[in-house]
Assembly symmetry: C2
């Protein structure tokens, strides 16, 4: 049967079967905004009518710059299901990146939170395609912007039913841009088909097992790669939602979990590390309704994984993915075989991203494009394919040409290993691995071991040009107590050969980050080069 896999169908399922499930938003006054899928649906229909009336054509895009709240949720469906596309923008991007991507995507309407008014006012004069600004609120604050209205006025008065078009499943439903750690952001355009399939997949017991009984708290921003696809998946399965608005501090997150009986929460690993500490300091804190936690971007420390598993009975499921993959490809799955291993080994394996989910495929290729052994040691570039992986960068033929193999796999730029259990581990970025005298040193493995030292809070390892060895590692370290370079070196020697040890230890409490909170190794490399040149340094120490 020619049945197109569209987001419209996933939304209709929520409304028809779970119409009274709630979408709850944390408000700035401390209370909650609550409404149901049926309520949301009526407003999504109104939004679609408003876009028709505004004159937005099929295929046109709207920008959204917002925290996680119910109006943002409505924007996940109104434009896409009516044949347009949502461009989720990250307000933390540098202004020049924001203007570049909004112009490149030719966004015609920009929806934004009042909190980001300054940013919007700064970039507005440079924007070439945006004709209309819509504040995601009930009124418009004082502003110099032209053509501005508020969201409630924008959708007011329209019909609460809508005749959705029969879209081809390959139609674009949204676009996100990479955060641009290696150059200008690049656009990843998503199809209805891709997000339908990934959303369905999240319901699999061996993936995240999203069900209608779940109450999902996406702490991860909804602008960050489809909010890790959770808003789409939870809707498909009829889950309830708790949307934090701008309230993503630990106290607020704990309160939302407790007050709204949250079962699934999703956030970067640091939130969970901090939450474990927060609970120690706040005996009244209660996250007992949590059933499982989704995280990604990097590995949480094993001790934290273990604590959530054993003490809080809420396993942390780690995912691996990327903007180009909608984002999810791989996640922790304790297979039968792994469950039969000693407990310590199981926890060790849980720090790896794990196994590809159904519908996603991964492979490792060395520099010559040859397959790499699955022995947990040999490494190669991680290449992927899936219906929810892009097949080109939007309007960037050169970047596209560099990023796909001849046989159609996406080259992630990540270096990984696969072990005998089939578990993928990400050991580095192609750009970050350190080529020292013909051998490779993983910056990520070094970082993890430095951070494992009790006095270290953060560590970032970069490769620096070396006159003799081509490249050598240098580490930036942020500590919470006095610790000497010698102490850290001894710590590292427990695990690595001597030639892996960083040539320089630079102590600092100000490690630069990108707009999505990753350490900015590009900046660090450039800072180092500007300040010191190459290795070996002439002065004894770089500090």
């Amino acid at each position: 049967m020619d049945y197109e896999l569209t987001l419209t169908k996933t939304l209709r399922r929520a409304v028809d079967q779970f119409g009274d499930k709630e979408i709850v938003t944390k408000l700035d006054d401390g209370g909650y905004h609550r409404y149901t899928y049926s309520d949301a649906y009526e407003r999504i229909c109104q939004l679609a009518h408003a876009l028709d009336d505004y004159g937005l054509d099929h295929g046109d895009r709207v920008s959204v710059m917002a925290t996680n709240h119910y109006r943002h949720y409505e924007l996940y469906y109104g434009p896409s299901c009516s044949g347009r596309s949502i461009h989720m923008t990250n307000h933390r991007l540098p202004d020049e990146h924001l203007t570049t991507i909004i112009d490149e995507a030719e966004d015609r309407v920009l929806f934004f939170d009042e909190a980001f008014l300054d940013t919007v006012e700064r970039i507005a004069p440079e924007l070439e395609t945006v004709e209309q600004y819509v504040v995601l609120d009930e009124s418009v604050p004082e502003t110099d912007l032209d053509s501005v209205t508020d969201y409630e006025s924008f959708i007011a008065g329209y019909e609460t039913e809508y005749e959705w078009p029969d879209l081809d499943e390959d139609t674009e439903c949204g676009i996100c841009y990479t955060s641009g750690t290696t150059g200008l952001p690049k656009g990843a355009s998503y199809s209805h088909r891709g997000l339908f399939l990934l959303s369905m997949n999240y319901g699999a017991k061996d993936t995240f097992g999203i069900t209608e009984k779940d109450v999902i708290l996406p702490v991860v921003p909804m602008f960050h790669v489809n909010g890790w696809c959770l808003p789409y998946s939870g809707t498909f399965y009829g889950s309830s939602f708790v949307l934090p608005g701008k309230h993503t501090d630990l106290e607020a997150v704990e309160a939302m979990i407790r007050e709204q009986n949250v079962t699934v929460a999703a956030a970067v690993p640091t939130i969970w590390t901090d939450m474990a500490n927060y609970i120690d300091e706040h005996p009244e804190a209660d996250i007992s309704t949590l059933d499982r936690i989704l995280t990604g971007g990097s590995s949480p420390p094993p001790a934290v994984m273990r604590r959530f598993y054993e003490e809080f009975d809420a396993p942390i499921i780690q995912g691996y993915g990327m903007t180009e993959a909608s984002p999810h490809l791989v996640n922790t799955l304790l297979t039968e075989k792994v469950r039969n291993l000693p407990e310590e080994k199981q926890y060790e394996l849980q720090t790896k991203p794990g196994l590809p989910v159904p519908g996603a495929e991964i492979r490792l290729r060395n520099e010559k494009g040859e397959p790499v052994e699955h022995d947990g040691e040999s490494n190669g570039e991680i290449q992927v394919r899936s219906p929810w992986v892009i097949d080109e960068y939007f309007a960037r033929p050169e970047a596209t040409a560099e990023s796909f193999t001849d046989d159609g796999w996406f080259k992630t730029g990540d270096i990984g290993t696969i072990d005998e259990y089939g578990y993928l581990d990400v050991v580095d970025r192609v750009d970050d691995i350190i080529k020292s005298g013909g051998e490779w040193i993983s910056s990520v493995e070094l970082e993890n071991e430095v951070v494992a030292h009790e006095k270290v809070v953060e560590a970032v390892v970069i490769g620096v040009e070396h006159d003799r060895w081509q490249e050598r590692p240098v580490v930036y370290v942020n500590t919470n107590d006095d610790v000497s370079e010698g102490e850290l070196k001894n710590h590292l020697l427990d695990r690595f050969p001597k030639w892996w040890l960083p040539d320089e230890f630079i102590f600092t409490d100000d490690i630069p980050q990108t707009s999505t909170g990753k350490y900015d190794k590009k900046i660090l490399r450039s800072l180092f080069r500007d300040r010191y040149g190459s290795l070996p340094l002439e002065n004894e120490t770089a500090q």
Copy 2:
């Protein structure tokens, strides 16, 4: 990304990620045949080479007439993944149906179990397209068949790797025929895409939650609508399998569950009713590894559902589907809302098939094609759509024209209701509902209530022509103890108005069934007409 959803990818996932999981087959000598996905894969590759070598073109079909065993499993993948199609045939069909469908599907090779040699020998002279017979064994028994070989010889000596073609996801992977209760069997052709999606869906926690940890025992025949798609889904998720061969009696099923730690078993409701009794009579029986049970075709009695839920801790999940839907569309899901109801109400609701799974849609339409209220009472024809529902009958334009609406929904021919919880119930077949004086009487509801009487084993209600009321109900009853017509009438009056009561009660222990074990109402109607004509009967009682 242009990533075709093919069974080849699901098979590769099992081999790459779960290559050492086992497929276990019960043998006739009482032992088990055991091998892994990796082993199976090598033989599937050999089979594909053998089909190449035989000269089978892409798109050609092979017939398979077999019980559930590992060679049958290999036939699920070898032909389909190499671009051919498997026609699963039901050996219980009448000979003339078998010859009709094998000729219509133009099957060129017929694989069959030695147990069905007689059938094959009988139909062989009539078959116009079959060129080669392959016995699913190590040798060929004495036979008059021409061009016959055994499976092991057929695949022997070929390479154990195969370069699978890049198939379009809409390529046919298999075909099944309806069992023909209402005329000649009709062919339902399945695409790789449809079975990929349904297989993925079975992993959803809210569907069946198939995982790699499961050990799946399909008692349901693998020729019966893709073995309810379990072989495909379990492979996708890397589950283990226990295949019963011809050993589907209670004693054998219980032994396989106990000996192989089966977690998921699938069979028609009568097996589970009988299993509950079997356990009472055999204190040493042990089905404690069972985690959940899949059933379909009709509702198990509520008392049995309850017993499995409470006593055996293995909920019976009831599905609704059909040959035309691969087959699965709807299953029991105790939603949050339902779990808050009184326990009795929950069990009552569990006797209904339940909610459509993600990717499947159902609607009810009355005789004028208008929507029907979702009040649990109003009924209409169940119409469905999904990527795994067919959009035509193979080579039957007239049947196709009758079976689809103008807007592309499949008309199931079932009459259903949907209640306030969204639960679908199937109350009758369009052909079986009894039109009495302008009102409808559900034959299924009457049957269920008659069977609910403790002295009744089976009951089938048919509509019979009536001189005044157009149609009136007549019931065929099989009892396990003396029970009078008056006693049954009183029993029915507890629940139904007087005009629903059957005009005739015919006591018999020989109710005719179709080849798939359904009661054959077509035969019953014809038997009644031949014997008695129309109602009211001239003689006082029909018996």
